[in-house]
Amino acid sequence: MGNLKAKLTLINELHVLRAEKKITQQELADAIGVTRATVNALEKGNYNPSLELAFRLSLYFEKNIHDIFKLGEEQ
């Protein structure tokens, strides 16, 4: 299990999934109801989405949340 109290880092495949769909950050932002800056922050890993936004991304890309977001190295 590891240390669950340590800070967990989330990594995501958003930029890959977006490239596969051939859509811009703005198009993705419009589809899930956020700003382009938020999509950029998500892709760069500067912002962890709420559970609701994670589900919206999951519905949009038709993938499980686990396929989009993964746990990175524990710090």
Binding site: G33, V34, T35, A37, T38, A41, Y47, P49, S50, E52, L53
Partner: protein, 197 residues
């Protein structure tokens, strides 16, 4: 803006769009006749002509600041626009929350600093005393009164009775204390309400 009622929308638009004109006009008037209205000057004549619009502007200003105190929806809409706070999505909400926390704490620290320095009295008296060998004395104290008598005055002179309002009739330290109490009180009120939900 759309969530406000029609009167508030028009009032705010009138206030926002006419404010620069009146501010420029007030600066111009203060330069031209140093605050004394005179019909012979250009700005004095214009005051006479545009006075009704200025009265409407002052009335809307008083209405706006009063309503801001009591209506959360009105305050949130107008203040967010005025302060440039954007909450278009959840990330901007988080950013606004963090910025508001910093702003709250730094403002509170600034108010505390101003309060301490506004109630502190310090006197340095230089008076050499040959018998004691001392050069003078330093006194330090704290003093605060709630009212400022100059804010609101009542005069009776030559059969004329006047009531004059110049500013809020509360002292500077009391106002600072009031703002600090408001900040802490409103924070705990909202935080408790949110935690209960």
């Amino acid at each position: 803006m759309r969530e406000l009622n029609r009167f508030d929308r028009y009032a705010l638009k009138y206030f926002v769009y006419t404010s620069p004109i009146f501010i420029i006009f007030m600066i111009w008037a203060s330069v031209e006749f140093s605050g004394v209205a005179d019909k012979t000057t250009l700005s004095g004549g214009m005051w006479d002509y545009f006075g009704i619009f200025f009265i409407a502007w002052v009335a809307i200003l008083l209405y706006t600041v009063s309503k801001m105190l009591f209506s959360k929806k009105f305050r949130d809409t107008t203040m967010a626009r005025l302060a440039g706070i954007k909450e278009r999505d959840e990330r901007e909400g988080v950013v606004a929350g963090n910025a508001a926390k910093f702003s709250f704490l730094s403002t509170f620290a600034l108010l505390l600093f101003l309060l301490v320095f506004s109630v502190t009295n310090l006197s340095v008296i230089k008076k050499p005393n040959p018998t004691t060998g001392k050069n003078g004395m330093v006194t330090v104290g704290f003093g605060m009164k709630a009212y400022d008598e100059t804010g609101f005055t009542h005069e009776k002179k030559d059969g004329e009775e006047s009531y004059n309002y110049k500013s809020i009739p509360l002292s500077k330290p009391f106002l600072l204390l009031l703002i600090m109490a408001w900040q802490i009180g409103s924070y705990h009120l909202i935080a408790r309400r949110e935690l209960r939900e």
